[in-house]
């Protein structure tokens, strides 16, 4: 991939990559690092893609993995960190939902982030996660059910 080709790919997908990274890491600096690392991996792999969709899925998979890896390496932070408290009520509720999403087991969290942040179809989610479309749907249903149970406790 030449620098010019890379520039096009970067401009096309940078927001998507950053949003996925942020969804996992919940921190701008970490999301920046994950974004940078994801694009560098794409460069190093130096692979030709059959289509733009193929490249998008590939990059999605990379950023999901990079973000998860960074999460694993990070020291665990208490979920209900008082520093996060925000005045705005709506914002506070969103923080709570983020917390619940992040508490989901990885396989469910992946589906939720790809579905609602990345706006992937189930087929695309299936392709990224290398599962069947029906499995993606099932995980989505279970994830929503888990979230519903948790959120209704409040």
């Amino acid at each position: 991939m030449t620098n010019e080709q890379f520039a096009i790919v970067y401009k096309t997908y940078k927001v998507m990559v950053f949003q996925i990274a942020y969804s996992y890491l919940q921190n701008v600096e970490d999301a920046e690092d994950a974004t940078l690392e994801s694009f560098m991996r794409l460069l190093r792999i130096n692979r030709k893609f059959a289509s733009g969709d193929d490249q998008r899925r590939y990059l999605t998979r990379i950023v999901v993995n990079v973000s998860k890896d960074m999460l694993r390496k990070k020291r665990p932070v208490p979920i209900s960190d008082p520093v996060i408290a925000v005045n705005d009520a709506g914002q506070n509720e969103n923080n709570y939902i983020w917390d619940e999403v992040n508490k989901l087991p990885n396989k469910y969290k992946d589906v939720i982030i790809l579905r609602y942040i990345n706006e992937h179809s189930f087929n695309e989610i299936a392709s990224v996660l290398k599962i069947s479309a029906s499995a993606a749907r099932k995980r989505h249903e279970r994830a929503l059910k888990m979230l519903k149970e948790e959120l209704s406790h409040e």
Partner: protein, 276 residues
């Protein structure tokens, strides 16, 4: 349920805007990032092959129309009939014409001998033993079918195919496993298998970003119980694996101002293999 879905959709609005300052950082890093060199057809080989092909075609036509078809070179023929017979060769299936072996695809293959034992050592480098004639025939066809004489990571039960001069092929049925005595072990981390129909595994060597790791032909991770897990069905995308490679096959190349060591892995293990 829909209410919760609406709430989830709103989460996207919480995500901060893309930091523009990151652009410069990414482009600067991109300039310094080495790209893996994918094995390809050597460019210098193409003109060489064209020359060889041109010479071969000239020889063919001169032989056919000037000296006559199938006429031994050391006895100039006064006949151009294609039905003229050649002198019998000592090896069945092989004839000589102008010193070039002609393989007619009838040589019998030997029996299968496959003895690949991943448990003892990393004896997974195998050499395909071809008959001399078949080997010659394949060498002359290397540009067409890329016959490999050394094959890594053959799994018991795998089939090998050897191409003959025409477009047919047969399975190789004699395989000799060599003991590899120059292996080194590394710990490979961050194995990423990005989703795609075509597998492409990205492997990093922990704390050594200047080491490029290739893993050509590796499709399986070898487990301690001697089972094999296909790379594309590994549960965790990031996992510590162990890779083995031959020290003698480390290649060094430069990409821009960066010097990179390129290691070609022979195998990937989910457990620390014993390397002697």
């Amino acid at each position: 349920m829909n209410n919760h879905e609406e709430k989830l959709k709103k989460l996207k609005k919480d995500i901060p805007e893309y930091p523009d300052a990151l652009d410069r950082k990414v482009f600067r890093a991109a300039e310094q990032t080495p790209r893996y060199k994918r094995p390809g057809f050597p460019k210098l080989l193409i003109p060489s092959l064209l020359t060889v092909t041109a010479v071969a075609l000239s020889t063919f036509f001169v032989t056919k129309y000037v000296y006559g078809w199938n006429t031994p070179s050391n006895t100039p023929s006064n006949s151009a009939m294609p039905s003229d017979t050649t002198e019998p060769t000592e090896t069945p299936g092989l004839s000589e014409e102008d010193g070039v072996p002609q393989f007619d695809n009838t040589l019998p293959m030997k029996q299968i001998t496959v003895d690949i034992d991943y448990g003892i050592l990393v004896d997974n480098k195998v050499s395909v033993v071809l008959s001399e004639e078949l080997d010659l025939a394949n060498q002359s066809m290397f540009h067409k079918n890329d016959t490999t004489r050394e094959i890594n990571n053959l799994l018991p039960g795998d089939n090998l195919e050897v191409y003959f001069k025409d477009d047919s092929y047969e399975e190789i049925n004699h395989i000799l496993v060599e003991t590899v005595d120059e292996l080194s072990e590394i710990q490979v981390t961050n194995l990423v298998a990005p989703g795609s129909d075509e597998m492409d595994i990205f492997v990093e060597y922990k704390d050594h970003p200047d080491v490029a790791i290739l893993h050509q032909n590796i499709q399986y991770v070898i487990n301690e119980d001697q089972t094999y897990t296909p790379l594309n069905s590994l549960g965790e995308m990031f996992m510590d694996l162990y890779g083995t490679y031959k020290e003698s096959e480390i290649k060094t190349y430069t990409s821009g101002s960066v010097t990179i060591q390129q290691i070609t892995l022979i195998a990937l293990y989910s457990y620390p293999p014993r390397v002697e």
